[in-house]
Symmetry: C2
Subunit: 215 residues, 2 copies
């Protein structure tokens, strides 16, 4: 946990963050990571080839299709998906190893990934205790469209597809525990940090060590 | 709620805060109230006579013993207690009227009061939905003793009694949802504000208005 409560031991927090493309989720997460040194992105597995400069175990765990499939068979993934003929997935151990070590992990996945992860975590006492689900939404559809267009890199076709997808994803907002409207980046970052701070001082997460209440 | 989520309606938050004498709870609460304009102390009823400068309906609701007892009989109190021959209590309506109006209320009561309030709120959908319970604790017993002595106004006898009482109250920490260790005032204020911010964006508290997901 990010707060030093000397008389307690506590698991780290696994923060699942979803939000449609164009919401500003990536900017919010990166700003948060800058200011919160106990928080790191979870590292995904992928079957795609490393790009120039990408480091195995830092950017991704680069594994073969065979190994990926074997691990799927073994139920080692919290969630995975095939995108453009490559597999991407989050290993259970990637999350549990870190939270058991007291580190907080940010897991950036979409609504489908969240649903898979909920299922895969069910019955796992560590994962059930340490995971919080946050949905990031744009302040309005017109604002979302503006943000997608302002990127300047998307074709009309891509913008339309993203808007349609956003409409679908936004309907899942209440499958999450917290809703962050990204009206201003700094406010959204502050809300996300507030979730981490509040969750980290939930009494249900704190295990007193021998000298509490104080000797 | 303190955050403007235009597409949602939401109840205010009733924040119950307890903590043994000497914890610094009052300082933390007052600092928080200074920076959070949507948050106010709940106003208690009392049977004691107003002191110089005290205003009815601002400092307290000053009522007669007969009226207090009648309201106790009517189950109008969330909690009440007799202290030095005077009654003090928090009316249900004091909290529900404010939260229904979207205001956040800080309720400063002791462990006994919290237990009474939990019972009195049980089955009341507004109170159950809007109330969060926070316990403020000192970083250690020696530090608590130091703080009590540093006031300079307490006799040895009072210090001993407060230390004994603190030991008793601290055992109730996990009857609350959040534990705030007051190691530094600013950190404690920030933790309390984080609880308010996080609770206010819990999806279970947010009711979408007709145009969500956005028209």
């Amino acid at each position: 946990m990010s707060i030093n409560y000397d008389h307690f031991s506590s698991l780290g927090i696994a923060l699942v963050v979803s939000g449609p493309s164009g919401t500003g989720k990536t900017t919010v997460c990166e700003k948060l990571l800058e200011q919160n040194k106990n928080l790191n992105f979870s590292i995904s597995c992928t079957t795609r080839k490393p790009r120039e400069g990408e480091v195995d175990g830092e950017d991704y765990y680069f594994i073969s299709v065979e190994e990926f499939k074997r691990r799927v068979e073994n139920s080692e993934f919290l969630e995975y998906a095939e995108v453009h003929d490559n597999y991407y997935g989050t290993l259970k151990t990637e999350v549990t190893d870190k939270v058991i070590n007291g580190e907080d992990v940010l897991i950036d996945i979409d609504v489908q990934g969240m649903r898979q992860m909920r299922k895969a975590s069910s019955g796992d006492s560590v994962l059930e205790k340490c995971t919080s689900y946050v949905f990031i939404a744009p302040p309005s559809y017109p604002e979302l469209e503006k943000r997608l267009r302002n990127r300047g890199t998307e074709t009309e076709d891509v913008v339309s597809r993203r808007m349609l997808n956003a409409r679908k994803e936004l309907k899942a907002w209440n499958e999450y525990q917290y809703l962050i409207i990204n009206d201003e980046v700094d406010k959204a970052v502050n809300r996300l940090q507030s979730v981490i701070t509040a969750v980290s001082i939930e009494t249900s997460r704190l295990t007193p060590v021998a000298d509490w209440p104080y000797v």
